[in-house]
């Protein structure tokens, strides 16, 4: 087998591993940042939760299951949406910035040193 080719594959693989590892860790950071407390429960500010809160029938009480599967009665839906959206945008903006930076980091050295 062509040794030079194998060396190139190994280098590419190392670069991809370093890149993907950083991406995964940045994603975990973003996911942790989307968790917020409201009315005594803990919720994840994901698009599904935000959309459901926004579109639910206002004549009904809004009961949501929190991350521990505890049903929580949301006392102020508007405040809930504000808090959820704020968490979501903050986390995703930060993740997006980091993701864009990664596009420019095309060597293992650059990734490690965050150049």
């Amino acid at each position: 087998m062509d040794q030079e080719f194998l060396k190139q594959v190994e280098q590419f693989s190392n670069l991809k591993t370093a890149l993907e590892t950083k991406k995964l860790n940045a994603f975990e950071k973003a996911k942790n940042k989307t968790i917020f407390a409201f009315d005594g429960g803990l919720f994840r500010a994901d698009p599904q939760t935000i959309l459901f809160a926004k579109t639910h029938d206002k004549s009904r009480d809004l009961i949501l299951l929190d991350t521990n599967d505890t049903p929580i009665a949301i006392t102020s839906v508007d405040q809930f949406i504000v808090k959820a959206e704020s968490c979501y945008y903050e986390a995703m903006n930060e993740y997006h910035v980091l993701y864009e930076q990664l596009k420019k980091q095309r060597s293992v050295k650059k990734i490690i040193n965050n150049d």
Binding site: L19, N25, N32, I35, A37, T67, N68, D69, I111
Partner: protein, 294 residues
């Protein structure tokens, strides 16, 4: 209502394979962590549980990072090898070396009675705080939340052992991050932990972790939470935040990058700064120094 973070720091001795003595300075880690907690968190009152030696190690400036310093002398009553300080040891990788660490972790179940706070976030001092995500737990009406979701930051290891005590038994909780309030429910949790500690041989057979002679708070809290859940498996006490950790065999020279075993050599990546459990003792020391000098 008082809120705060509680850390235990009892310096330990470790030996490398050549029997060279290494001091694991948990007090230094706690000081660094307290500095970061003050910087990043809103609920930033910090209590340190240490022994007389640990207290004497603190300089007047460092004392300012702590709102409470609680001096305790752990009692090793020696019921079984697991609660004997000379036998309670664990071998762990630290970079390229393997060290044997004598664990002084047996006083952790006393956290409930030692905590000066109504709402307490109990952290390992090698779980370094770099953001404010954990502030959210203080705004809940939950009495107990314990670390459940764990990921190793190199993604090279299958952490099935981190999910369950044994593949046939209950799910594993991580006492690294444990939130509790002063309540009957929390008191019961710590009482059960103490019972598990004092009857380690029995519970280790019952829950199939008899391979572990060393007392582990993770195991004790897992058993206690299993009992509290009515011996069912629920998500009631699961902390939703993922605990990211650097395992002993990988290295973190500073808080910005890390190196990990990749195939037969080393690879590396930079680290998007966030809370991290640094299990590699040399790396924990390096990060503590960086924080303290920063």
């Amino acid at each position: 209502m008082t809120n705060g973070v509680l850390m235990f720091a009892l310096n330990g001795q470790a030996y490398d394979s050549d029997r060279n003595k290494i001091t694991i300075d948990y007090v230094d880690m706690a000081i660094a962590n307290a500095k970061n907690i003050k910087k990043y968190m809103k609920n930033n009152a910090v209590a340190l549980v240490t022994d007389q030696q640990g207290k004497q190690q603190l300089t007047p400036d460092q004392t300012l990072y702590f709102d409470h310093i609680i001096v305790t002398e752990p009692k090793y009553h020696g019921q079984g090898p697991e609660t004997n300080q000379h036998i309670n040891k664990r071998a762990m990788k630290t970079g390229t070396k393997t060290i044997t660490v004598y664990w002084r972790n047996q006083s952790r179940p006393d956290a409930y009675k030692l905590s000066p706070f109504d709402k307490t976030l109990l952290l390992d001092c090698d779980y370094f705080v770099f953001d404010n995500t954990l502030d959210q737990v203080f705004e809940t009406n939950k009495n107990i939340l314990c670390g459940k979701h764990v990921e190793e930051i190199s993604y090279q290891n299958n952490l099935i052992d981190y999910q369950r005590l044994h593949h046939q038994t209950i799910k594993l909780y991580w006492a690294t991050v444990l939130y509790f309030t002063k309540s009957e429910e929390s008191k019961l949790l710590f009482d059960i932990m103490n019972t598990v500690k004092e009857n380690w041989a029995y519970y280790s057979k019952l829950y199939k972790f008899s391979g572990s002679r060393t007392y582990r708070n993770d195991f004790a809290v897992s058993v206690a939470l299993h009992v509290l859940q009515g011996k069912l498996e629920t998500t009631y006490y699961d902390l939703p935040f993922k605990i990211l950790c650097l395992i002993g065999k990988n290295m973190m020279p500073d808080s910005k990058k890390f190196y990990y075993r990749y195939k037969s050599s080393w690879a590396g990546s930079s680290w998007p700064k966030q809370n991290i459990h640094v299990m590699n003792k040399e790396s924990a020391k390096a990060i503590a120094e960086e924080i303290l000098n920063g």
